[in-house]
């Protein structure tokens, strides 16, 4: 006859499941308290795991955009400082032209010519600035030096000008015969022969190796800006034109009224150069501003996503450690109970 409905086997195993579960849970909580995330995100979130994966990938994406924005910012500020130099040179050149306006004094003309040449030199150096191994004013041809050095010996643009002058007037610009050129002839030469050399296709063969296409950079998931400018811009063409007039014609043996007219056109071109370069600076300034705003937007997006990620896969460390404590108490109780149950036997009393 059976009187008791408990067997020794059942008694011995009674606490096994409790202890096993408890130990498992403690191990999990341990990881969760240390990392602040679920010990097994997939088990805890189920289908929502894809959300957590997407958010994590968004975080790396935004961080990588922030990193590349830093690169773009660097390129832009290097371009700005080079443009600043160019603008100063343009200003210096303009002042040199104005200083000799109406003057026919050979010494002053020579000084002005030297000033203009040094401005052109500074302009060329600034135009050929490179940063991080990229020429800043080459457009997308970043591995090609954009501007030819006019003042270098045997330079292509100088040879082109000499040929042009010789072709038009049949004598060189420093030939005494130049004194015979009339104002109308010179005006015609400058605006109809010389100017097209700088505004037309010849610019790209004689002067510039830059591409018209500027480097573009993605600064936000949905915004692309031009992050460079190029040496084919109106300001730079005019700078070169004014500088060539200053270097070649201003001090040439021409009559006083022709020189005045030449100077007037040079001042006009130099003025265009100043405004053109300043325009480029403000265009880049707009990009710089966009990046600053984009970075602010990116950082706030990052903050929001990180916060959300914390909500999705984070564990309340306080709650976890409280649960850990109560679980440990529970497991310890199970141990004590198991030990006492094992000792409980009629045998001990016989």
């Amino acid at each position: 006859m059976k009187t008791s409905f408990v067997s020794n086997l059942a008694l011995q195993n009674a606490m096994r499941l409790t202890i096993g579960r408890g130990q498992n849970e403690i191990q999990k909580l341990n990881t969760e308290i240390v990392t602040g995330r679920y010990a097994d995100i997939g088990l805890a979130l189920g289908a929502k795991t894809s959300n957590s994966v997407t958010l994590n990938s968004d975080v790396t994406r935004l961080n990588s955009i922030l990193d590349s924005n830093a690169l773009v910012t660097q390129r832009l500020s290097a371009s700005q400082s080079a443009l600043n130099m160019m603008s100063d040179s343009a200003q210096q050149m303009l002042e040199a032209f104005i200083a000799v306006n109406g003057s026919d004094d050979a010494n002053r003309l020579l000084i002005a010519q030297r000033d203009i040449e040094s401005a052109l030199g500074a302009f060329t150096i600034a135009g050929n600035t490179s940063a991080n191994g990229e020429y800043l004013f080459s457009g997308i041809n970043t591995n090609t030096k954009p501007l030819e050095d006019y003042l270098a010996a045997g330079s292509a643009p100088k040879a082109a000008f000499d040929a042009l002058f010789l072709g038009h007037f049949t004598f060189a610009q420093d030939d005494p015969a130049a004194a015979g050129i009339t104002v109308a002839q010179m005006d015609n030469f400058i605006s109809n022969v010389l100017e097209p050399e700088f505004t037309g296709a010849a610019w790209n063969t004689d002067w510039s190796s830059a591409s018209d296409t500027n480097v573009t950079s993605r600064i936000l998931k949905n915004e692309v800006v031009e992050s460079s400018t190029n040496a084919n811009s109106v300001g730079m063409r005019n700078f070169a034109l004014a500088a060539v007039i200053g270097a070649e014609l201003l001090n040439s043996p021409i009559s006083a009224e022709v020189r005045t007219s030449v100077n007037a056109s040079a001042i006009e071109y130099a003025g265009l150069a100043v405004t053109g370069i300043d325009n480029q600076r403000s265009t880049l300034g707009v990009s710089e501003n966009r990046i600053t705003k984009a970075n602010t937007a990116l950082e706030s997006q990052l903050r929001i996503i990180s916060l959300h990620l914390g909500d999705v896969e984070g564990v309340d460390a306080y709650e976890a450690s409280t649960r850990m404590n109560s679980l440990m108490a529970q497991v310890e109780t199970s141990y004590t109970l198991t030990a006492r149950i094992q000792q409980m036997s009629l045998m001990n009393y016989l």
């Binding site: 067997s7 020794n8 086997l9 097994d40 993605r218």
Partner: protein, 487 residues
């Protein structure tokens, strides 16, 4: 009533006590055998008044059925969970480091950095290296999925073998029970063994047992197919020698009827076999189709198109190519593409390729080049690749995920799909294991041995034995006295 009859009654008692004691000692020696059912030696009176001992075996049919059913559901659920965890391990740990989703995201970020500084050759190499990691990751994942299928297939073979062996043993055992019952022997030991066999069988395949006259038993699967009826029915299975995305596994036949796979994460399968078939034929192939879709989307996203003013040439694979070397058209699964996806060798420097073609295009000839002048600051193509990864495209609905999603979303959804199933399977496994534990515990409480109870009964027997012995001495003394008087 005479002294002699008193003496013989006492003698019978002694022999009864001896039988009872031997039963108790057998109970005690088997106290920790989970398959042992407690025996009870009960005193009975025969019709003519003779006292005897009959041995009864403790049983509770209803509880036994419960514990058998719970064993097979719990075994099925645990097997499924193991399989799903194996599939999850392919994707890496808590951060899914080796999942296509994370690998593609890393490649995308490198591409974006390259786009920000397109002149830098090192970045081109880095982007290519990341692309190689993506391709290798897909190949390895696809291979690992097939390994999971192969392992499941081998496990099915092992379990079918052991099931056949268990059924053969069941046949022998059942015959012993039936013939023992017919000849009136104590078949308790055989019954214990038979219950143990049913327990083992039920963890492999769900069984319903039908008891018939003469202690005979028939076994059917949960679907009603005969497993054992007088003789053991054959369970047939031909293992496959290897698996690929296009290879289907063979079916398991019980008595000629194919065994169905379990359904759902909270599996309908009973016994580990159905869950193994479910992993091999449902979950692993579905994961494979998702990998294939990701691979197809990669080949399509990075494909090059003819850049001439009037395009005439067909699209060709760009950064990623695969065995057939074409660009798949339409949102249709290309079976096994994930196992052959590679980075185009025309881009890999160590294979004589040019990494810069990634920036300029033109891997398949000048007509495909987006940057014919080779300008080093050209970033539009790279930028368009980065954008494509986040733009919606078509996916085959047969992959079980969204049919219109961006590649990044699709890859993330694939993780979500697996984790949904694994998390469901885990919670089901937990509750099913608990209910199995409880029903086994309840059965063990009814049929198991309680040492305390046996000890107290032993004390009782000891006292009775002493009393009988005393009785014999008393009768002996009385007879002595009587004889002394007669002398």
């Amino acid at each position: 009533m005479s002294l002699t009859s008193a003496l013989s009654t006492a003698q019978t008692s002694l022999s009864n006590y001896a039988t009872q004691t031997s039963v108790i000692s057998r109970n005690i020696s088997n106290a920790s055998d989970p398959n042992y059912a407690r025996r009870d030696a009960v005193l009975t009176n025969s019709l003519i008044g003779a006292q005897g001992v009959s041995i009864q075996r403790a049983t509770d049919t209803a509880l036994f059925f419960r514990s058998i059913a719970d064993t097979s559901t719990s075994s099925a659920q645990n097997t499924l969970l193991t399989g799903l965890s194996d599939l999850k391990n392919i994707l890496g740990g808590n951060d899914y480091e080796s999942s296509p989703s994370v690998l593609i995201a890393t490649m995308r970020d490198t591409l974006a950095t390259y786009a920000a500084k397109p002149a830098e050759a090192t970045l081109a190499q880095m982007a290519i290296a990341d692309a190689v990691t993506v391709a290798n990751g897909l190949q390895e994942a696809s291979q690992a999925v097939q390994t999971v299928r192969f392992e499941a297939d081998k496990e099915i073979e092992r379990q079918v073998d052991s099931l056949n062996e268990l059924l053969a043993r069941f046949e022998i055992n059942n015959n012993k029970v039936v013939s023992g019952t017919l000849t009136g022997k104590d078949v308790s030991a055989e019954l214990d063994e038979r219950e143990g066999l049913i327990k083992d069988i039920s963890s492999i395949i769900g069984v319903t047992q039908v008891s018939r006259s003469g202690n005979d038993m028939a076994l059917y699967t949960s679907d009603g197919v005969t497993l054992f009826e007088t003789i053991a029915r054959p369970v047939d299975f031909a293992p496959s020698s290897g698996f690929a995305a296009s290879v289907d596994g063979n079916q398991v036949f019980v008595d000629g009827v194919p065994l169905a796979a379990g359904q759902g994460a909270n599996t309908t399968g009973r016994g580990s076999l159905q869950s193994l078939i479910q992993i091999r034929d449902d979950y692993a192939p579905e994961m494979q189709t998702q990998l294939d879709e990701i691979a197809r989307a990669l080949v399509v996203s990075f494909a090059e198109s003819d850049q001439s003013p009037t395009p005439t040439l067909p699209d060709e694979p760009g950064l990623f190519t695969w065995a057939s070397g074409t660009v798949p058209t339409g949102a249709t699964i290309v079976t096994g593409i994930a196992s052959s996806i590679t980075v185009n060798p025309a881009l890999i420097q160590s294979l004589g390729g040019d990494p810069k073609l990634l920036r300029d295009g033109g891997i398949n000839g000048a007509a495909y080049s987006s940057n014919p002048t080779g300008a080093t600051g050209y970033s539009s193509l790279l930028d368009s690749y980065v954008l494509t990864l986040d733009e919606p495209m078509g996916f085959d609905a047969a992959a079980g995920l969204s049919s219109s999603a961006s590649l990044m979303e699709f890859a993330a959804q694939s993780i979500g799909w697996l984790e949904l199933n694994r998390s469901d399977a885990e919670s089901a496994a937990e509750s099913r294991e608990a209910s199995r534990f409880r029903s086994v515990e309840a059965l063990s409480s009814i049929t198991g041995v309680s040492l305390d109870e046996e000890m107290s009964m032993l004390l009782e027997l000891e006292q009775s034995y002493k009393a009988s012995a005393r009785l014999i001495t008393a009768v002996d003394e009385m007879l002595q006295a009587l004889l002394a008087v007669a002398r």
